[in-house]
């Protein structure tokens, strides 16, 4: 036996004394910080044992990821929500995260709904808006169910201009509003005149001007910008400085060419330039359009959506259709802006976790080490967060890279089986909204999805593909 001629080198899991006894005898040993898989739940472990090495699942996940990888997201235009978003009508408001009723909405989402109804002219005062929202006349629907995504409250109302991102490879589209900037903004639930006026300016000036420029450009390849921005210190969820700068470089010549009045041109460029997060509303639909292509592959255990509505966190899985698997939205751990306390924070909210789902955002923190100044922790933490995500993902990205890891591809494609068997939850890197409507962002930090989402998804997978 070959072993008898080798030097013994051991791995130990369980009783630590066994490892120490081996060391005392001069034998090298790795003692694992082992934990029971799936948090020790027998029912889940039994399912994992059955399907962990299933070649059909491997094949399905490969097909799904291939569709993601060969996707080509291109910003092609700007349209008006009611005209371009499928299933959108005058009485529909889209929101971030899984489905939710007015009664269960948290402060920032309610505020955004109120603001949107005022902006749409459906109400003159917040009280009127609230009454209308409660009346049942307004249909609330998740952005994700309409090929759309929205940061924070993520409210999209019929008149809002939206970016149109086209997946040239697969022909599908994704939509997202234009980023309003920081401070008092609708996505954090603010609805003062200042907010409504800005939205109107965006509708009347910003969107038409940008639309002309985008169309003149013949389309802007977002995948390339994301890949470059990762090399420049963004992770494109909580840090979009490089992405926004690159976008300006791409669009500026065409904005000039568009023949806009000088004052409008200056306002537009100043507006984009003054908002480090402008590109977030492009990195998100880019992620969405690529992941939508990977959705609905039978048997696939790939996560294609992670989204929060401020009350609940929901995920969707490629092989499980449009069902949401939800759990309570978690509190974010991070740094608060001066003057705010922990009790001011709203639970996790927004569709922006689509970035992590697509293999950047928190998964690419090692590419955006400077972000720890914003979310807390040390540079070493940032590296470790990314390293850990390789444990729960299926592939290394072919285009998005982490320079400090020797340009290793970002961890891409969350597999619900890996999340459960390794007890590692996806790492999300996000902003913190004030729990009351209209106050805005109070900080930024790190958060994980609730465990239940993945547990429910695995049980549903078993029911759908293995029967009872």
């Amino acid at each position: 036996m070959e072993l008898f001629r080798q030097k013994l080198k051991a791995i130990n899991l369980g009783n630590r004394d066994f490892a120490e006894d081996l060391r005392a005898q001069g034998t090298e040993v790795y003692h694992l910080e082992w934990e029971p898989p799936a948090r020790g739940k027998k029912e889940l472990i039994d399912i994992l044992n059955l399907i962990e090495d299933d070649p059909e699942i491997e094949k399905a996940n490969k097909i799904a990821l291939e569709k993601y990888f060969n996707s080509q997201p291109v910003l092609v235009s700007i349209g008006i929500a009611r005209e371009v978003i499928p299933g959108m009508d005058e009485d529909t408001l889209l929101h971030a995260g899984p489905p939710i009723t007015w009664e269960k909405m948290s402060g920032p989402l309610r505020g955004a709904v109120i603001g949107a109804l005022i902006y749409e002219g459906r109400a003159n005062t917040p009280e009127e808006a609230e009454k209308l929202a409660k009346s049942g006349k307004i249909k609330f629907s998740p952005c994700h169910e309409h090929n759309a995504v929205g940061p924070m409250a993520g409210v999209i109302s019929p008149s809002m201009p939206v970016f149109i991102v086209h997946n040239v490879t697969h022909g599908n589209y994704a939509y997202c509003t234009l980023n309003e900037g920081l401070g008092k903004v609708l996505r954090y639930g603010a609805f003062s005149d200042e907010v409504i006026n800005r939205l109107r300016w965006m509708e009347k000036v910003l969107a038409p001007g940008l639309k002309k420029a985008i169309e003149l450009s013949g389309g802007i390849d977002l995948k390339t910008i994301i890949a470059q921005a990762l090399h420049m210190g963004d992770e494109l969820h909580n840090r979009n400085k490089a992405g926004t700068s690159l976008f300006i470089r791409n669009i500026a010549p065409y904005l000039v060419k568009a023949g806009l009045p000088d004052s409008e041109l200056v306002d537009i460029l100043n507006f984009i330039n003054s908002n480090d997060h402008f590109f977030l509303n492009l990195s998100m639909p880019a992620a969405k359009v690529m992941l939508d292509a990977a959705h609905n592959i039978p048997k696939s255990t790939l996560v294609t959506t992670m989204a929060r509505n401020g009350t609940e966190f929901g995920i969707r899985v490629s092989g499980l259709g449009n069902r949401w698997f939800t759990g309570p939205a978690q509190m974010i751990k991070g740094l608060l802006f001066p003057g705010f306390k922990e009790e001011d924070c709203n639970p996790d909210i927004g569709d922006s976790a689509i970035t992590e789902t697509a293999g950047f955002g928190g998964f690419a923190m090692a590419a955006a080490i400077a972000i720890v100044q914003f979310v807390g922790g040390t540079p070493e933490d940032a590296l470790n967060y990314s390293r850990k995500m390789y444990e729960i993902t299926i592939a290394e990205n072919r285009v998005f890279q982490i320079p400090i890891f020797g340009f290793r591809g970002t961890p891409t494609g969350i597999d619900i089986r890996k999340v459960l068997s390794k007890n590692i939850l996806p790492q999300i890197n996000t902003g913190i909204a004030h729990r009351e409507a209209g106050i805005g962002q109070v900080g930024a930090g790190l958060v994980n999805p609730p465990w239940e989402c993945f547990e429910k998804a695995l049980l549903a997978w078993k029911e759908q593909y293995l029967g009872e």
Binding site: K7, N12, G14, N15, E33
Partner: protein, 511 residues
């Protein structure tokens, strides 16, 4: 005063938690302490201690439960401080820049030289990890029990397909390339290779081989169920073949209880087909003797070692211990017993040793009661109460639920030693003291203290009891054999180095 604390999703391995429980029990004023994960087994134990409420019932196997019964508020506070220290110890140890590994694959990816995995996690998780190890081309030493027969067969078939060792489940002892795995003694390198289905039985054999001047090439463990009809000796057959091919091994030894007849047949015919001589120990078997083609069957552990050493060293005399000296001591001791003192009370940590003792006594017509009886009618109604001649395996599940094995924590045996000593019908108290890796650092010290205490109490009653200790160990063991022997002798324990010798003594005292 009772206090129950639940810490959700905080996992610790059972051995760590047993140590925490032990540390808490030692806090003055603590009546009962149990720290464990929320498994059904632990919940039962908590219920038995009266430390049970709704939150305990609801806790999952991944929640940490701390149950405390204390006599004072001060004791509670002190216990909570100790708890915190004990629980954080582990987390601190892994601090610093040392890389943390959480999974087998993770290590394999980074270090292709890793070749064996030791698994001692709870049984319900063990098979999964063992399978992962095998799929990654690693040999497995699976200490965990509570793994199903189906899983055992699946794992062993997978191992055979890959040409890997699948030692266990429930494998306590192995010695590979001169390294002790689990509970094993440091022995000299030599020409005798062992495949063992019995942990302490294997330890006894390897220790005696060392004592008889020879040494060991490899010791392959199989787990206690390998020779059952279902498992069919899969790993023992494989182990024998590996030793047959191993140029360092000149003699092959197997150690087990008597297997199912068709399995015995399989093992014997395999050994007969191999050109190396073999000694087969079927503990307590009636069919002993030469089987042809250099294969001999023996039925006790000492004969196993003797026979094996004789095969490699024809000059070996085959005697162990100075019989005359012992006979003299026995006569002297016998004189000190009163007519009511008639019975043996044997308290074992090693299950195979307990088995051997019962087998040997049964042959001579002794009726021996036990918690692991040889016949159903010899079962003790309660393992806690002895009657007549009694042999107790303190390593049995009944005693080890939520507690460390007596080989790890001999202190758990102390109250029973005292109790049996004070029984007016007890003539002999027999105890094993097992040394080697995996075992307690000073088992003789703990046992000797119990004997001192017992003797003091007996003196007040004007009685003496004969204490016999079986010291299973070698000069190479980390505990220091001579010192351990001295501690026992100083306490007035009659020390022998072989369980078989101890049984002979018992027979001559009580026969």
């Amino acid at each position: 005063m009772k206090k129950i604390i639940i810490k959700p999703n905080l996992y610790y391995d059972s051995v760590t938690l047993m140590r925490v429980s032990q540390a808490l029990s030692e806090v003055p004023g603590v009546v009962n302490a149990m720290v464990g994960m929320g498994t059904d087994l632990n919940k039962d134990s908590l219920k038995n201690l009266g430390l049970f409420d709704e939150q305990v019932e609801k806790a999952s196997a991944n929640d940490l439960i701390i149950g405390l019964e204390v006599s004072t508020e001060e004791a509670l506070n002190q216990a909570l401080t100790v708890l915190e220290q004990q629980l954080t110890k582990k987390r601190e140890e892994k601090g610093g820049s040392e890389k943390v590994y959480t999974g087998i694959e993770q290590v394999v990816n980074e270090d292709p030289e890793a070749n064996i995995v030791l698994i001692s996690v709870a049984g319900m998780y063990a098979a999964r990890e063992a399978k992962k190890a095998l799929l990654n081309g690693l040999h497995v030493f699976l200490f965990s029990d509570n793994v199903s027969v189906e899983e055992e067969i699946m794992l062993k078939d997978l191992a055979l397909e890959k040409g890997l060792l699948m030692m266990g489940p429930d494998c306590g002892t192995a010695y590979i390339n001169g390294t002790a795995l689990g509970f094993a003694n440091k022995v000299k390198k030599g020409p005798i290779g062992i495949v063992g289905a019995s942990g302490t039985g294997t330890q006894q054999v390897m220790v005696l081989i060392d004592r008889f001047g020879s040494g060991v090439s490899q010791v392959i463990g199989t787990g206690g169920r390998d020779l059952s009809r279902e498992v069919g000796g899969r790993m023992m057959s494989f182990g024998i073949k590996m030793l047959a091919e191993d140029p360092e091994t000149k003699v092959i030894v197997t150690v087990s209880k008597p297997p199912a007849p068709e399995v015995a047949e399989k093992i014997l015919s395999l050994l007969k087909s191999i050109s190396k001589p073999a000694v087969v120990c079927f503990l307590g078997s009636d069919q002993t003797g030469f089987q042809g083609n250099d294969v001999v069957v023996v039925n006790n552990l000492e004969d196993t070692a003797t026979m094996a050493v004789k095969l490699v060293n024809s000059k070996f005399s085959g005697t162990n211990g100075d019989q005359e000296v012992l006979a003299k001591i026995v006569n002297e001791l016998k004189g000190k017993l009163n007519p009511h003192q008639k019975y043996l009370r044997a308290l074992y940590g090693g299950g195979s040793l307990a088995d051997e003792t019962m087998q040997e006594l049964l042959k001579d017509g002794f009726e021996v009661f036990s918690n692991i009886p040889l016949k159903p009618e010899l079962a003790l109604p309660s393992p806690l109460e002895s009657r007549g001649h009694t042999v107790i395996d303190l390593g049995d599940d009944f005693f080890t639920r939520g507690k460390p094995h007596p080989m790890i924590e001999p202190a758990l045996r102390v109250p029973r030693i005292i109790k049996e000593s004070l029984d007016p019908e007890t003539a002999v108290v027999l105890m094993d003291v097992i040394l080697g890796y995996g075992c307690h650092k000073d088992p003789a010290g703990v046992t000797a203290q119990a004997v001192y205490d017992a003797k003091e109490k007996l003196a007040k009653e004007g009685r003496e009891v004969i204490f016999i200790g079986v010291l299973v160990g070698t000069e190479g063991d980390p505990q220091n054999y001579q010192e351990q022997e001295r501690k026992l002798k100083d306490a007035g324990v009659l020390v022998v180095n072989s369980n078989y010798q101890a049984v002979k003594l018992v027979k001559s005292i009580l026969g």
